[in-house]
């Protein structure tokens, strides 16, 4: 297994805008050189104001997402209130560290809006959290997407601009990466709504 993080392939990216955040991911689910499906979901709406994107080993993407769903549901029922995005961001870090010696092979990005303020956090697979001011990438196409982000990103973009920039960055990156692509999905979250757009990438 040359790289358990590269086995399934896939890329994610998260970005902050002015009172909004955006997440994007590719749609490929592969097993090394083979492509199995082209509609695999990697960004999940955890709550009305929180998005969780996961890249890495797909089985762990699914399991970790299910674990976070369970945590937030139980929290909502026990505490009788919604979870704040910063709290969820910390929960992800604790949950990852709990498996310090048998980790989830995922690199998550959490994005949310807390009282209108954008929140963006990323982690390594054992829960080292970094809070970010601009954007963050994950997955096999990550480094390619970084390049595009650095070029196109500017702070305090509107939701429309943000959607355009994150979309273009994802597409440029995934088109270069052999293990990512087969379509992209862009999520833009504002106080009012969540918009989801499906993009076309190079179909290879």
């Amino acid at each position: 297994m040359s790289g358990i993080f590269e086995y399934n392939g896939g890329s994610i990216v998260g970005m902050k805008g002015k009172n909004c955040i955006a997440m994007a991911c590719d749609r490929r689910f592969g097993q090394q050189m083979s492509t199995i499906t082209t509609n695999y979901q990697k960004v999940f709406k955890i709550q009305d104001n929180i998005l969780l994107a996961l890249s890495g080993l797909n089985t762990d993407i699914h399991t970790f997402y299910a674990l976070m769903e369970k945590e937030i549901n139980l929290y909502n029922l026990k505490e009788n209130r919604k979870m704040k995005p910063t709290t969820f961001a910390n929960l992800v870090a604790s949950a990852l560290y709990e498996r310090r010696f048998g980790p989830f092979f995922v690199t998550p990005i959490v994005a949310g809006l807390e009282n209108g303020k954008p929140i963006l956090a990323t982690y390594d697979s054992i829960g080292c959290k970094s809070d970010l001011d601009d954007f963050q990438v994950g997955g096999t196409g990550g480094n390619y997407i970084y390049g595009a982000c650095e070029a196109f990103f500017k702070p305090d973009m509107s939701p429309e601009e943000l959607e355009e920039v994150i979309g273009q960055s994802l597409v440029s990156g995934c088109d270069r990466d052999a293990l990512s692509g087969w379509g992209g999905v862009v999520y833009v979250l504002t106080e009012q709504k969540l918009t989801v757009k499906i993009l076309k990438t190079k179909q290879t």
């Binding site: 026990k78 505490e79 704040k84 910063t86 709290t87 910390n90 929960l91 604790s94």
Partner: protein, 231 residues
Amino acid sequence: MTDFALTTFSSKGKLLQIEYALNAVAKGDTAIGIKAKNGVVLVVEKKQSSILVEESSVQKVALLTDNIAATYAGLGPDFRVLAQQARKLVKKYDLKYQEEIFVQTLSRELAEDVQVATQRGGIRPFGVSILIAGYDEEGPHLVQLDPSGAYYSWKATAIGKQAKNAKAFLEKRYNADMEIEDAINTALLTLKEGFEGQITPTNIEVGVIRDDHVFRILPPSQVKDYLEELE
């Protein structure tokens, strides 16, 4: 550790051990709590068995975290154990969520431990009623936790020896528009009502939290000022 529960139902459907625990609470030194619009106050009797006791070494109001504290009526050592347990619960929550725990959440989790003592094999219920006071995002809170594990939110309440009389006094004095300074005065007045002997700054303990979310146990000098105001 025995295999069987010590607290079992009587034919009338009562758990006598819990009733007896409540008796222990009813014998304890009075504690009063009042929730104001902008804060909460806890006041507790600190009667010493002898003048030889080092008064300052006895701490009846225990800080659970920066913005939550508790006091009790009943068995001192049982309170000590529960206070420590509560502090651990706060930290456990903090490690997981890195967020300030809500008073209701802490009360519920601590109540779980108290209830376990009424059902697990070989152990007896806790012989204390606890008053938890705190100020969190939702506002000021005052919660009473009983030996049964039941917990109730109060606007104002009293536990211990003078509970009945104190609550009757509070029912007349309490109003929803109370500010914290009024609440402190009312709490001290209420305690004074049923106090055996002379009330002094060293035979009571006063803890206050305001909307700055910082719980403070008042030093005797400040308590002295409040007591003088009552005259």
